[in-house]
Amino acid sequence: MKADRWRKVEELFEAAQLLPLDRRGAFLLEACPGDAELRGEVESLLKAAGSSDALLDGSPLSSIVERAPALKAGDKLRNFQIMGPLGRGGMGEVYRARDLRLKREVAIKTLPPAWAGDRDRIARFEREARSASALNHPNIVGVFDVGHEGDVSFIVSELVEGETLARLIERGPLPIKKLIEAGSQICEGLAAAHAAGVIHRDLKPSNIMLTRDGRVKILDFGLARQERGQGPESTTMEVSHAGSILGTPGYMSPEQVRGGEATDARSDLFSLGVILYEMASGKRAFGGASSIEVMNSILKDEPPELPVSSPPALDRIVRRCIEKEPARRFQTAADLGFALQSLPMGSATAETPKTKVAWKWAALVTGLVIAGGAYGLWKHSSLSSAQPETTFRRLTNDPGLTSDGAISPDGKLFAYASDRADPSHLDIWVQQVDSGGLVRITNDPADHADPAFSADSTQVAFRSERGEGAIYIAPAIGGEARLLIPGGKRPRFSPDGRMLMYWTGQEPHDVRGSSEIKLWVSPVAGGESAQIAKGCRLFEQTPVWSPDGSRILFVGTCGSDIETLGSRTQNYGLKGWISTIDGKHLKSNRDLYGIWRTIHAPPAIGQWIAKPSRLLIPLPSGDATSITAVPISEEGTEMGDPIQKLAFSGGNVARVSAALDGRIVLSSGTMEPHIWSLAIDSKGSVSRLPRQLTFGPAGEFFPTLSTDGEKLAFLSNRANGQRLFYRDLVTGGRKKSQPRGTVTTRLCSIMTARS
C-alpha cells in the first residue's frame, strides 16, 4: 500500500536523521533488509534535507522581486546626466545629476520598475509630484520635474548638500538648542505644506536634511496623496499612505497603522513627535524586533520618559504630539512650532519660571499653574497693596479637562484629576513639580477627583465615584488604592496628618449652603469620627484646617440664624465659623462672608496658611479669577486688612493649594468653544465621528450654514471683540467679514463645545 509505504519512509527518515551521518547507511541497511527501493527513497530524502534550495530556503517573496535598474555615471535621462549615486530613497535610487539645459546640479530619484506598467499610477504620481512642486518654502526640498525615459520613471528635485537627521541622531541626542531650531523649522515647512493641502505622510529622520548652514529641508514632500477630504479620490489614499510600512514603520501615526482611516495633517504631527523624541533621547519612541511589533507598539504603548537632561516641558510637548487620538494632539504645525520656541534653551535645571504660555486649545481646557517665588511674599508681610511679583509656570498641557490641582506639603509633587488617558472619565495623576515625571494613580472607568496629600507627602486621598462613591487613599508613587471613607467627599488631611476631614451627603444646590451636608473629622488610623458644624448649613467648598490643626474654619449659617433665614435676605446669617475638631465648640467670624457678598459664586476657600496667618481664596470676577490672601487672626475669629492679590488668572480657578515652602498650585480653566460638524443622515442618526472645523486661538460661536451647505458663517472672539467670519467648506478658504456692524446670530444645530 502506498500509504503504508509512506509511513515507513517517514519513520525511517525520522530515526535516521537523528543519527550521525556515518552511521545512517548501516542503520538503513539493517532496517530495510532486502528493500533497496525503500532504502533508496529514505537516503534520497536524507540527502535532500542537507541540500539547499534558493527558493525554499528563502521567503517566497524576497527573492522574486526585481530591483530598479541601477544607473551609472554618464547615463542620461532626458536632459539630465547622471553623475553618481547619492543614496537610496524611500522608493528607489537617488543620484546626483546635472541638468544639461539649465546647467545646474540636481538630485534624481528613480522609481521601482513595478511602476512602469501602470499608467494610472504614473499619472497620479506625476500629478502629486506637481502639486508638491508648487510648494515653495525654504524648509521644503523643491521638486523641479517629473518624467520617464524608457523604463525609468524619475523625479528631479533640488540638490541639498548636508546630512540627514537620521545620521545626526546616530551620533547621539541633539542639544536642546539645536533640537528647538530644527524642530521649529520642520514645523514651518509642514505648516506651509499643510496650508497648501499637502500632507507628507512619511516624515522620518531620513527624510529630513540639515544643510551646513543649519537649514532644515524636508524631503519627499507630496509623494503622498494630496489632501482632498472625503470624495471618490480618497480611494487612492490606501495605496499612497503606505509609503513607509516596510522599512520604517516606527514613525507612522496610529491612524496610518490601522489604515482605512482618513489621515490628515495631524498624522504628520504625530510623526514629528516621534522624531522629536528621538532627537531628545537618541532612541526610537516605538521599537520592536519586527515591523509588526513596532506597529503594535505605536497602537498601544507610551514611550518612556525623556532623559532628565531634557526640559520637562519638552516631554509634555512630545507627548501631546504622540497622543493616539488626533483630536488630542497639537492641531496645527504652527501651534507645535510655537510651543517648541517657547521652550527654555538651557538645560532642565535652568528652566526659569515663565508666565503662562499662550497656548491655543481646541476645547475646554484646564491647566494647572504653579506660582513660584511666593515664599518671599509671605515673609515680607508688609501690608502694602502692591502687586507681588508672583511668577507662574504652567504644569500641565493636556487638552481636555485637568482640574483639582493640589500640591504636596513638601512642595515636590502635585496631584490633579485629568481625562488625559481616557476622555470618558477623570483619573488622579501625581506629577513631580520639577521633573514633570508622572504617575497615574487611578485606573478604572469611574470619575476620580479632589485629591489631597497626606502630611508627609507620601499618600494621596481622593474621591472616587466607583460604586456608591467613597474616599480612597493610595501611595503617591502609585500602587494599590485602599478604601478609606465610604460615601466621603473632599478629603483634607490635618497638618499633622493624623486626622481626615471630609463631608458626606448630597451636593447642595442652595446659595444659602446646605444642611444636607455633614462635615466629619476622622482619625486616619481608625476610631471615633466627630461631626463638625452640627445643625449648620454650610458651603461644602469652604472647610479648611487651621495651620496648627486644632480648628476647622468654614462658611455657613449656624444655630438660631437658620430659623430666620427663610424670611430675611439671602445673605443674612452667613458667617465664617470656627469649630474645634471634636465639633463641640463653635465661634463665629462675622466678617468673613463679606468677601463673597458681591460675588455671584458660592464661597470656596483653598487653604489656611500660617506665618502670617492667611486664607488663600480664589475670587472670581467676570471671566477671570484673582488668587487672594486674606489676613485672618490665628484663632480665625477676626479679619485683617488688606486683602492681597497674589495672582490673577485669565480663567476660572477651581482650587488653590499651598506647600509649606509657600509655593501654590492653582487649577485654571477656560472654555473655548469650537465649531464641529456632525454628519446626520435622513433618518436622523449620526453616521460619522464629529469633525472639528475651527481651530482658532479664540472661542468660536453661532455657526450658520449656507443653504447649499458649502459656506459656514460664525462669530469669533479673536482680536477685538466678536466679529463675523465665514469659511468656504469646499476650498477651506476663510475670510473676515468686512463691515463691522450689528451681527444677528441664529443658533444652529451643529455647534458643539467639546468638554
Binding site: D53, S59, P60, L61, E66, G90, A114
Partner: protein, 194 residues
C-alpha cells in the same frame, strides 16, 4: 479602537473558532482582498536591504482586520493559517501569469494588474514548488499544510501547532521531512539547474 471596527473579520473568526466552519467561505474573500492590498503596497515600496516577508503581510492584515481585544491566540492561529493558503494562491497565480506571458510573446513589461514583479526564473520555480506541494498533499495532507503555513504564511512552529491542533514537535518533524521531500522533487524536476 484597535482594529478597523467596520471589518466583520473578527466576528467571522470568532464564529469559525466556535465551530461554524462555513464562516471560512465568507472570511476568505475578505482576507484575500486585504492581503492583495497590502502586498500591493509593499511591492511598490520594496527597497534594498529589507527582506520582504509574507509574515509581515499577513500580520499586517491581522492587525487591520481583527479587533485585538476580542480575538485570542487560537483565533490568531486560525487566521494566520487561512491567510497562508490565500497567500500561496496569490503568489502562484502571479507566477503562473508571468510564465504564460513569457511563453506567449516575451514582453519585458508585464501588464500585471497587481504589482508583484517576479523574475521569470523564480516564477517558474515557484510554480514548480506549488505543483510539488500538491503532490505532497496527496501523500500526506498535514505535511503539505505545514509547508503552506510555515513557508507561505510564515507561521511559527507554535502557531502552526495551534492551528492544526498538534504538538509543536509534530510540526518540527513534518516540516523537516516535507522540506526534504520538496527539495528532492524540485531537484528531480530541474536537473540542469543547481
Amino acid at each position: 479602537m484597535g482594529a478597523n471596527t467596520a471589518s466583520p473579520v473578527t466576528e467571522l473568526l470568532l464564529r469559525w473558532n466556535g465551530g461554524e466552519r462555513s464562516c471560512l467561505d465568507e472570511l476568505i474573500p475578505l482576507l484575500e482582498q486585504e492581503l492583495r492590498r497590502i502586498a500591493h503596497c509593499h511591492m511598490r515600496n520594496e527597497r534594498p536591504g529589507h527582506t520582504l516577508q509574507t509574515t509581515a503581510l499577513i500580520n499586517e492584515a491581522y492587525l487591520k482586520l481583527v479587533d485585538q481585544s476580542r480575538a485570542n491566540w487560537a483565533n490568531r492561529a486560525h487566521f494566520l493559517a487561512a491567510a497562508s493558503g490565500i497567500m500561496r494562491h496569490l503568489l502562484v497565480d502571479h507566477a503562473r501569469g508571468l510564465c504564460r506571458e513569457r511563453r506567449g510573446g516575451a514582453k519585458l513589461h508585464l501588464p500585471l494588474k497587481e504589482d508583484l514583479v517576479f523574475s521569470p526564473a523564480k516564477s517558474k520555480a515557484l510554480v514548480a514548488l506549488n505543483d510539488a506541494l500538491d503532490e505532497l498533499a496527496e501523500l500526506n495532507p498535514r505535511k503539505a499544510q505545514v509547508v503552506e503555513m510555515r513557508y507561505f504564511g510564515g507561521l511559527s512552529v507554535e502557531e502552526a501547532a495551534e492551528a492544526l491542533g498538534v504538538h509543536p514537535n509534530t510540526i518540527v518533524n513534518d516540516w523537516r521531512l516535507a522540506r526534504a521531500w520538496l527539495k528532492r522533487e524540485l531537484a528531480r524536476g530541474a536537473p540542469d539547474e543547481g
